[in-house]
């Protein structure tokens, strides 16, 4: 799933009008959408897996949330590694590696965390 990320954005420089001297890159919309969906899917998987881990370990309160953000950073490092540390050839926004869908992932993380915590510790 992550291999598809190698479709880079087709940055064809097209001069718009003769008034603008700089070249503006053109983005292939299919590639952009594909890249975002890859981020979303891997974010969901990370949230689920770390939620299960956190529930099994019995983390409570603030430790659980810190755990989630640690994994967000680990995920960001993995993404950067996969992009060959050239984030700008794949995404426009530089901070996207950390902030993409952080709240959506948080909801999924809390769900799995509560679920596994309940299964393991409450019952």
């Amino acid at each position: 799933m992550v291999e598809k990320k190698s479709t880079s954005i087709a940055s064809a420089a097209a001069a718009t009008t003769d008034k603008e001297k700089t070249n503006q890159p053109v983005y292939s919309e299919a590639a952009v959408r594909n890249n975002f969906s890859i981020l979303e899917n891997s974010r969901t998987c990370q949230a689920a897996a770390s939620g299960i881990a956190s529930g099994a370990l019995g983390l409570t309160g603030a430790y659980g949330f810190i755990f989630y953000f640690i994994f967000v950073l680990v995920q960001a490092i993995l993404w950067e590694y996969k992009a060959g540390f050239k984030w700008n050839t794949f995404f426009v926004n530089r901070s996207l590696s950390i902030t993409h869908s952080i709240v959506g992932g948080l909801f999924t993380y809390v769900l799995f965390w509560v679920f596994i915590y309940g299964i393991v510790y409450v019952y």
């Binding site: 003769d18 909801f107 509560v114 299964i119």
Partner: protein
């Protein structure tokens, strides 16, 4: 580790079934949405308009490849006072798309209904069936203000607010499973869209679109300057 001991029967018959029901109701809602959405019939005039607009924009972007005569000819086709296409569309019929258009209204209502109704129905059923006992414990500390919200049927005043009822477990499921739907149903699925997205997406974009777009295109063409690059 924990101060309360819960019957394992709760786990088997309440905890897991709520997750399963929420998940499958979401999937069913997605497929029902697919069945109910009606195909949009595009009028020929609208399609024609979009194509002409695209042609005018391409002319502006790539006009430097054409010779000046060709460019002037194509430009005149669009902006001419008497026969130009853009001009006639600006002066032409002034009725924008009607926001009270019956087809669009039913579309919006259907989408809203389809999202709201199952959630309310299932929420109410769960509240009624699984009431009077505590379902699980959330791992994080909650203040006492959350108690009436999260412990619906349980009337113990000294119970720690972390012990929640089944209704709150249901809502936690609804929010948490939205990303999972994206994973399972693949991208554009209607099980994950929330209600306010639907309201916002339809209204602003449609109001006075055609006339403004034509006028903008006409002005842009007027000021575009042709410089031969070949």
């Amino acid at each position: 580790m924990t101060d309360l001991l819960l019957d394992p029967a709760i786990r088997t018959w309440v905890f897991i079934p709520i997750v399963v029901v929420t998940f499958f109701v979401g999937i069913v809602r997605h497929y029902v949405h697919l069945l109910l959405v009606s195909k949009k019939k595009n009028e020929l005039e609208k399609v024609q308009d979009t194509h002409y607009l695209a042609k005018a924009r391409l002319l502006r972007q790539n006009g430097h490849i054409l010779s000046s005569n060709d460019f002037a000819m194509r430009k005149q086709f669009f902006v001419d006072e008497k026969d130009g296409y853009l001009h006639s569309r600006i002066q032409g019929p002034s009725t924008g798309p009607n926001p009270l258009d019956p087809a669009m209204m039913t579309e919006m209502l259907k989408g809203n209904m389809l999202n709201m109704v199952p959630m309310l129905v299932i929420g109410g059923w769960i509240n009624w069936t699984f009431s009077g006992f505590v379902t699980t414990r959330v791992p994080f500390p909650l203040t006492l203000r959350f108690k009436p919200m999260l412990q619906r049927g349980v009337n113990l005043t000294s119970l720690n607010a972390a012990w929640v009822s089944s209704a709150s477990w249901y809502f936690l499921n609804v929010f948490g499973l939205r990303s999972i739907y994206a994973l399972v149903l693949g991208g554009e699925n209607s099980a994950a869209t929330t209600m306010d997205e639907q309201m916002m997406g339809v209204n602003p974009a449609v109001q006075q679109d055609p006339k403004q777009v034509f006028k903008a295109e006409w002005e842009a063409l007027q000021i575009s300057f042709h410089k031969f690059k070949l």
